[in-house]
Symmetry: D2
Subunit: 393 residues, 4 copies
């Protein structure tokens, strides 16, 4: 099927995800330069949209080339030599902060959780209170396992004892409630290809005025990811004036502007509810067919990614067979569960139809591969749950 | 949902149907004129593709502007004043032949079946043997009810007693087995927006050499639909030479050429099997949730359209609620069942995912509207059927 | 060049012409059925747009599948058996009216002009006054030669002596001033692929209330092109209600709606001025390089098509070489000048850049083929003319 | 004009430039994840295409998120603390190397040329011979002025005295002859939005085996731009295996693969000739209308960018008026010539039609703004030059 009706396949991945055609078509522009009105207008509205989606009306928004990792690394613009950082890691992408900071002259401590678990707020509180950290990094949703950290609670406990609270919202922004300013987060960041439902190619950040004031020549960062080089460009473009430091991904910005407009049209709250409903519908199906979810604590289930453990069949076989059956899932990447779980991404423009199709196809596929699943039970549970919710979504 | 994630909706309609993105993009061409190499090449390959899909290697293919109805009317190019025609009608589109012929100086007789039924081969045989008809028209799949006529058998019975056997394959070609030449059908016709999965805008025909020889100045047809005006144009274009009678739908032809290429890539037999499987999966679900199918005789179930009777709720309410839930179905149009049934179109680039999503959404929708359906039973039946078939399609 | 940078080629043809990308992208919709809100909305706004572009606020607009020829033939819906029609023909497409009417039981007289000429208003007046014609057909711009008939003057002279004045505006609507209602024209018609700048696939008409009242069961037309079958469909759709007689070219309608919106945005008057300026710029260049224009009388030069005579080189060689050089022109089709002239189409989304590029490329091409042209003189004249006009268009 | 016929405008900018529709459409894919076969295949073929375009069959190709500047900064992956670098700068983008290296613990010397000039090979030779530099950076075409450095000659003179020769080919690769391996350049880099004619969003490099062996944990670079993190990903993907370090710009890669295929189809040599011809045609016109080119030495004229000095009118006024007239040019950015020159970008999918249209529009625009240009002389010179070259390109 993959060749013949390739556009009827469904991408239930962790980014890029299924992209709305309107968003893609917004980028089909043959003659838009970085000084053109069309681009400047799109960039301005994307920056304004970002303020809304991140819940940061008074923060400085940035949209820079790259992705989640480069956005993370750009946070070194806020640090100086010798400062101390605490990384709170729930998996592969929490650990990525450690790998980044190791390349810079800062001291890094970390708190880690086992695969499927998350570092509890009290552990973070304790660590922050017994040390002098300039910055703490948190991962809202850990993409490698689908586990959600209770950001609001953690920040409440540590806010008074640390200068910078940095949140990786790569797998949460636009899919989970994110009120960064209200929660007193200093830096919130994401990537274009996640719950915003655009192609990959940009990292997006919102930075509090206090954090912003830390940017200087002494900032640790290199050149391209030094936010000081981008600051005036962002300000000018948001005000509708052409500006340049290095070339922005013009066509992707046109798409982002369209995506933010669609988020506005749907309503951010509705969008998050839609994510929550589709996520729950998938989890119900997965559990009813007899599989275990990677995230241990149901309160940490995320709206955007679900890890699913397999008992017999290697994950790679399942992924291949699923792709052949028209649904592309993501491989598990947590080293402790290598080839023993798969990930279902459910973010962006996902619908209840995707939930039922994914559960049905997974059920059939696992059954045909010899995993012991109860054929029909998963779909039924998903269907009953959806039936209990708003039909009309 | 219809505004925000509008491209994630699924169109289970009777034409236009869900269109593969590749096909649509083939028509996004800014500078292709009707004498350009690109168009001539596409038209040539579409005409060649048509020969294969209709099973008519030695017939003359035509692709003309318009659609199914204009293709039907162009058959008057094969008739002369005063000739006698028998229309075999199983519903609205069978009756359309009568309405067309009434505008011309021919004698028309008809055989009709009740809603959901079809005229049995022996009735046709009897009528043809007891009269002198120049032409008999048959409808392979009656779009208004989803009923399939056993063309091969009918033609076997009447072939020796009638000069022209004309088959309306609008709702069958590329979704049902169609071997027009082998079955000794003289004229087979379809439209671009049906199982070929393209936008509407063209009627497609294949005509046997004998039938073709009837075209003359005395033909009944007007000017635009007079196949004599198009014949040399089709011949030239198939040979790769630019030609003109009236402007062809250039961009649609580019899409048709792509669609025929995709049909070739999938394999016509595989394509028909896919239609057959998705159709059966939908019918299983529909019946298991407690609904009745319009087509009475299971041997007349079609691969492309399923009519579904409703007992309480008006069809229009169901269609609106379904559209809100992300699946667009077609209204029932047979006057005998006005507002009492809906039609599910399942043709073109449909997949098992569409089947499960359609059945699930229908179940939830009908339940919420108060139709007595067994929630969960429909999906389960569809799932069990799909599970019993090739997983990997 | 044609394969590698194929989208940088420019199509200076007579339809399809160069199409604005926005218009094409409006049709890239995977899931729009003929009963969907999106289609109904687009059709409604296209019909309303048509009223404006044709200058017919109180006429009934029609958009039907097909093209210019089918729209012409649909005018038989307004005629009855035995009525008498006068065809005023300035070339191939004027003659087409004769060919159409010959297929129907009407009496046809014609007035003809030589290639490059047009039938003078007084000749028409004389004919109409000395005969009892039900209808007179006129061709606003004769596509085969680029000659414009002074419609307003002709109608003033004949209005009181004929019931129906029918104008073929295929090569004029949206590129020439067209005030059909003010001029008391009864029927004005065009096709989607001309100055409206859309793909081919639809004929568009506006019909006066008096003319509309002639539609009946006794109308001469067949079935598909019988406007009586489409009338209620057009009315319902314009009011925003789904309706059906035969499937409309849904995706093309989405594009037409976008094109009408762009016409509105530009302003119809501005659009016509743009056509007029580009046309004049091309003619200046063509004449300055030493070539003769097919249209004899400068007052009959059209905004949309320019025929250009060649003295030595066969037209087909010029067209091929021009296409290789990145500009596609149209062949001459008037039989009296076979292979002795080419046509430059300049309609739709054409710009002064197209004018200068066309003249420059034509100059170089003709020179390289041995036609005696003054290289540099054509471009200079075009440039001087453009320089004398508004720079900023 | 900019709103109404916006896609008929021509973008003669320095990147993004005019993009071929085929390239854009290759990225319109709704469901392609970073592990999907479709992406892996595209990335593999893009990497292979990069080897060809850069003339580096045995080097390691990299395509990483970002653009020219990030690609430049990633060269710090090849350097260690305390090493000494010589930057040869002909303008803004030469100076950018200095700004980058300043953020890292290396010693930086520089050789600079005045605006419009370039550092002569002998100066570089002298500097390299009288110092111990680990690396020398050169800019093939300086985008800020359009000046080309004779790379081959410079490298011949310095090759034996420096370990790493790094060439910024941002404004040259795919538009100028680039035989990096033959010329013994170690690192050649470019960006997607330049002469490759794609949207911005990726930096592309090819690195010699010797240079590659310098990558280690001690490399100066940070994390995201550390080529060591990308190396195995590039190798795996080129071999057709999915791999991940950070998310690649999937949709842009699909477009790059298409662009490389089109380059292959055109032939790299033909492509460079096309650039050279269009560039010369523009310069002839610019000079004939009485303007001065920024690049002083004709042997340093580039195929891709032409700076044009203005005598009276501010550059910003010219750019605005040109944009209104349908041709978008780039602002001058060299501080020594602030607002006194404009840049014409001529790279990617440019054609002779673009040259003539640009020169004609510039002539008219400057004239209308009061710059003393000879209207008609520019176009004539461009036309004469084009006429003397192959018509059929």
């Amino acid at each position: 099927m993959d060749r013949v009706v390739r556009d009827r396949r469904v991408l239930m991945h962790v980014g890029p995800v299924e992209i709305e055609l309107d968003v893609l078509l917004a980028g089909v522009r043959e003659n838009v330069g970085f000084t053109s009105k069309e681009f400047v207008h799109a960039m301005s509205s994307a920056l304004k949209g970002l303020r809304k989606v991140m819940g940061t009306p008074h923060y400085q928004p940035f949209i820079i080339p790259g992705g989640g990792t480069s956005a993370m690394e750009s946070v070194t613009s806020l640090l100086k030599k010798g400062e101390k950082v605490l990384v709170v890691s729930n998996g592969v992408f929490g650990d990525r902060w450690i790998n980044i900071f190791k390349r810079y002259p800062v001291q890094v401590d970390s708190l880690k959780a086992g695969a499927g678990d998350y570092v509890k707020p009290e552990r973070v509180e304790q660590a922050v209170k017994s040390n002098q950290y300039t910055a703490v990094t948190l991962t809202h949703v850990e993409t490698s396992t689908g586990v959600r950290e209770p950001i609001k609670e953690v920040v409440e406990r540590i806010r008074d004892n640390v200068e910078l609270v940095v949140v990786d919202g790569v797998a949460s922004v636009a899919g989970e409630e994110t009120r960064a300013e209200e929660w007193k987060v200093d830096v919130i960041l994401t990537a274009s290809q996640k719950a915003l439902g655009c192609p990959p190619g940009a990292g997006l950040l919102a930075i509090s005025p206090d954090a912003l004031s830390r940017i200087s020549e002494e900032s640790l960062s290199g050149y391209y990811l030094h936010l000081g080089n981008w600051l005036n460009v962002m300000r000018a473009l948001e005000e509708g004036k052409a500006s340049y430091f290095a070339t922005l991904p013009v066509h992707l910005i046109l798409m982002l502007a369209r995506a933010f407009a669609l988020v506005e049209e749907e309503g951010l709250e509705n969008r998050i509810k839609r994510h929550e409903m589709v996520a729950e519908a998938i989890r119900r199906g997965v559990e009813a067919m007899g599989l275990e979810i990677v995230a241990r604590d149901p309160s940490s289930y995320s709206n955007t990614v679900t890890g699913v453990k397999l008992s017999k069949v290697p994950a790679s076989d399942v992924l291949n067979a699923m792709a052949d059956a028209g649904i592309e899932l993501a491989p598990g990447v947590h080293p402790d569960l290598a080839n023993k779980y798969i990930r279902i991404g459910h973010m962006g423009w996902i619908t209840p139809n995707d939930a039922i199709a994914t559960v049905a196809t997974l059920e059939r596929t696992l059954n045909s591969l010899g995993e012991s699943v109860k054929v029909g039970e998963g779909v039924r549970a998903t269907q009953e749950y959806l039936s209990s919710r708003l039909v009309g979504l």
